[in-house]
């Protein structure tokens, strides 16, 4: 597969999740493990531009795909702008959910088929799979809105 633009070989047993493959084998510790069961979104990465929760994905299923983690998003459209606006709008506190929030935001914006900028409610709806226990939700929505308009 390719990860953040580089070809990589990830040789793992079939039960290893993509998240563990990225973190433990490739040393990409940006994606986080908050629940390991698809409920928090902290492990969100992009697979060929689509957001997935990597804890529920088996690494072997992603053979030949293009994976982008937070470490590589700066080169994507909106990636660097989101990173900048998350800082400016205080879209995080502890920062543990942040990689997932940013990757998810990129994926969410790409999913839209309308050219009109998303409303705040649409952003909220589209981001509701990414939990933030610090409660930085307002800042996250501010940041995404800023980038999307």
């Amino acid at each position: 597969m390719r990860v953040n633009g580089e070809p990589v070989v990830l040789d793992v047993p079939p039960q290893v999740s993509l998240l563990d493959g990225l973190r433990d084998r490739l040393g990409l510790t940006g994606p986080k493990k908050g629940c390991d069961q698809g409920a928090c979104g902290a492990c969100t990465v992009l697979a060929d531009g689509e957001r997935i929760v990597s804890c529920l994905a088996l690494a072997v299923q992603y053979e030949g795909r293009e994976i982008t983690t937070i470490e590589g998003v700066a080169s994507l459209p909106d990636g660097a702008a989101l990173q900048r606006e998350f800082i400016r709008r205080d879209g995080f506190q502890c920062g543990f959910c942040t990689s997932g929030q940013i990757c998810s935001a990129i994926g969410m914006l790409a999913e839209r088929d309308s050219d009109a900028p998303p409303t705040r409610d649409e952003i909220r709806e589209g981001m509701s799979g990414n939990l933030c226990r610090c409660g930085a939700y307002n800042g996250i929505v501010d940041a995404i809105e800023e980038v999307a308009t």
Binding site: T29, G30, K32, D90, F92, Q93, C94, R133, C134, G135
Partner: protein
């Protein structure tokens, strides 16, 4: 221009938005092995057999450690100070099981997958012992008064005054157990090098981890280094040392390998305590003008038989209303469950729910505006102790909040505001939290390049602590914000305070304010590159406190004298007004929080950006407590029935509206830089504001959290 008061971006912004920040589970070591826990599924009992044959056969397994082969450990002695560990049980040193979920084996393997697979194959047989796990039927005993918390307080004869009051409301409330659910699970990476130990651990109490591990493994404290640079959320759940930490260190010791133990989400629920449930009674008597003649607030909370502490549920009730007679009493029931622990605004988070709901009920009885009723009973001195408030301008907070919210547009009758299908309700409640003040060791250095370095082992779990301290230091030295660097989160730095009780910013600021004049003197009266050049040194450094047995004892003495001095000065607290709008679907009872305004009297605000985030974060937690959060404990077995983020419902993006926060920005005269900690106050009053809004929308008074839709239809 001063740095304090400016909305600087967080200093850790770049690393936290690029994935570069290394949390505890991100630390790698050559030869790192992985650990996983096996839990008991008995509330109380004795292990009769523990079969590790299958577990040992899993490829890659290095060790399966149980009470049969674990080395002996011990917990530190509990002195005058509150304990730093969560439970007195030394797991794997006993065949006794004290709660459902207690770790009974730790498996170490080459990979995480192998460790988890093997942990699931350890077979444990237990013979059960009689247990009491049902909080609703457990016997409660009065809480004793201690130096740290009063179990009861009284003024006059509140019960008699209640009897004779022209108007009275007397209500019972319940709140369920809650879990912190920091998105980062508890994680320990432990590395032994001979008898030296390095532990990467997300903690709110570096010193507590060190002390506990020192006792558990019989290693002098100065051979233990605890690193905790970034904590992925704490909320109290990382304030004490829980079994996973000790067992990871044990696993590393037994296998001679660096070991990482990341608790599963279920593992966090089963081995790290949460907020106690409560049953509360609040009764208020008043005359027809709304002047309170009697205020009664009593509570029952629980502790585990092997740990946990009282919850100060009635604390705010001794400070908020000028009632002529007051009776407060806290009771505690002991059960065979995992110890409870503190969670964001322990006591006030749930205590304000009952008190502020009852005040709203009284306003309704009196046909009086709920803010008006509160202001008629606003005290000028502390109602019970008759001490002064170090500052209190709740009146102004209410005025500000009411204006921002548009409160005067409210029609008082329940169900009187509507938008098509949606019943609209506006509710209000008072927020109250008294930040504590601890002591910090620190050092401060000024270098030839004109920069300053503050070193203090405080904790950063999202509060923006490093950013705020850089601002405070910049002003104390009269240099720009950008010229200050801050190192934190490591026991090799001068010891910081624990992060709890909203103390940290103030406690570290006090150290900075002691160090700045010292540094100025050391530089001959002025902080400048020129002054340093005259000294012919690359830098000048001053410090406060020492990491030695004597230094630690002196620190304790400093802490005690500060505590007593503070108590004499009067009552110091953040107050605030929480305004909430809910929309309730007239048919389905679906409840949406649609608007929020919080106005706080919280002293000087160091950084408006990060302070607003902290206040909002507290309010979000309060919205969760109001509407969805509940840890379900099986009353027959003591098993947590929803130990996952899929079944314990935290507020998500769609549940949280714009939260508009304001403050008065008036300094507290007794605090360094006039600041008061704001990490906890946001959650207080929030659940009551929601409940009061739901009543206003629907005419239904819900006194049992969470307010789910079945309770309003």
């Amino acid at each position: 221009m001063t740095a304090i008061g400016q909305a600087f971006d967080r200093v850790d912004g770049a690393i936290k938005t690029t994935g570069a920040a290394k949390f505890s589970a991100d630390q790698t070591y050559p030869g790192l092995a992985h650990a996983a826990l096996t839990h008991a599924s008995t509330a109380r009992g004795r292990i009769t057999e523990i079969d590790t044959t299958d577990a040992t056969r899993v490829p890659g397994v290095l060790a399966v450690i149980t009470h049969h082969n674990a080395p002996k450990m011990k917990m530190p002695s509990v002195g005058l100070m509150p304990p730093v560990f969560g439970t007195t049980v030394v797991c794997l040193n006993t065949d006794e099981v004290h709660w459902d979920g207690q770790p009974v084996a730790v498996v170490v393997a080459e990979t995480q997958e192998a460790a988890r697979a093997a942990a699931a194959r350890v077979r444990v047989s237990c013979s059960p012992l009689p247990s009491a796990v049902d909080f609703s039927t457990a016997e409660a005993k009065p809480q004793k008064n201690s130096m740290l918390q009063a179990g009861s307080a009284r003024k006059g004869d509140a019960l008699a005054a209640l009897e004779s009051a022209p108007v009275a409301v007397d209500r019972e409330f319940t709140t369920p157990p809650h879990n912190h659910n920091a998105i980062e699970p508890h994680t320990t990476t432990a590395v032994w090098d001979g008898d030296r130990l390095t532990v990467h651990e997300p903690t709110q109490n570096i010193g507590g981890v060190r002390r506990t591990l020192s006792a558990a493994f019989g290693v002098p404290i100065d051979k233990i280094r605890v690193v905790s640079e970034h904590v992925g959320g704490g909320f109290g759940g990382k304030g004490l040392v829980w079994p996973g930490t000790i067992l990871a260190v044990l696993a590393a010791r037994v296998t001679g390998r660096p070991v990482r133990l990341v608790l599963t989400r279920e593992g966090v629920y089963r081995t790290v305590g949460g907020r106690t449930p409560s049953v509360q009674r609040v009764a208020i008597g008043a005359d027809r003008e709304g002047r309170m003649t009697s205020l009664v607030h009593t509570s029952v909370t629980r502790v585990g038989r092997t740990g946990g502490g009282p919850e100060g549920v009635t604390i705010q009730s001794s400070h908020l209303y000028d009632a002529r007679n007051i009776l407060l009493r806290q009771n505690i029931a002991e059960v065979d469950l995992l110890a409870n622990t503190f969670m964001r605004a322990p006591g006030e988070a749930i205590g304000t729910f009952a008190l502020e709901s009852t005040v709203d009920e009284l306003a309704h009885e009196l046909h009086m505006d709920p803010i008006d009723l509160r202001m008629r009973n606003e005290p000028t001195r502390d109602p019970i102790g008759d001490k002064p408030f170090t500052r209190r301008n709740l009146r102004a907070a209410y005025e500000l909040g009411a204006k921002e919210f548009g409160w005067e547009q409210r029609t008082p009758q329940p169900r009187s505001m509507r938008d098509g299908q949606w019943l609209i309700g506006w509710g209000v409640a008072t927020a109250f939290h008294p930040p504590v003040h601890l002591v910090a060791n620190a050092s401060l250095r000024f270098s030839t390049d004109g920069t300053a370095l503050l070193r203090c082992g405080f904790h950063e779990m999202g509060m923006g602590a490093a950013t705020a301290q850089a601002q405070i230091t910049a002003d104390a030295l009269g240099i720009p914000f950008e010229a200050v660097r801050v190192e934190h989160g490591d026991s090799s730095l001068p010891a910081g305070p624990m992060a709890g009780g909203s103390n940290q910013t103030g406690s570290v600021a006090a150290a900075v304010h002691t160090l700045a004049p010292k540094l100025r003197r050391a530089l001959g009266g002025e902080i400048s590159v020129e002054a340093l050049a005259r000294k012919r040194k690359p830098y000048v450094e001053v410090s406060i406190g020492a990491d030695s047995p004597l230094g630690r004892a002196t620190g304790q003495a400093r802490l005690m004298s500060k505590f007593l001095r503070d108590r004499r000065k009067g009552v110091r607290a953040v107050t605030g007004a929480q305004f909430c709008e809910v929309r309730v679907d007239a048919d389905t009872g679906e409840i949406r929080v649609s608007r929020w305004v919080g106005a706080f009297d919280c002293g000087t605000v160091i950084n408006p950006k990060t302070a607003a985030s902290q206040l909002r974060g507290g309010i979000v937690l309060g919205i969760g407590a109001a509407l969805s959060e509940e840890t379900l404990v099986d009353p027959r077995t003591g098993r947590i029935m929803n130990p996952s983020l899929a079944e314990y419902h935290l507020p998500v993006h769609a549940d949280v509206p714009e939260i508009d926060v304001h403050w008065l920005d008036e300094p507290d005269p007794t605090m360094p830089a006039g600041l008061l900690g704001v990490g906890e106050v946001g959650v207080t009053g929030a659940a009551a504001a929601v409940a009061n809004a739901v009543f206003h929308a629907t005419g239904k008074r819900v006194r049992d959290l969470p307010i789910t839709l079945d309770k309003v239809v």
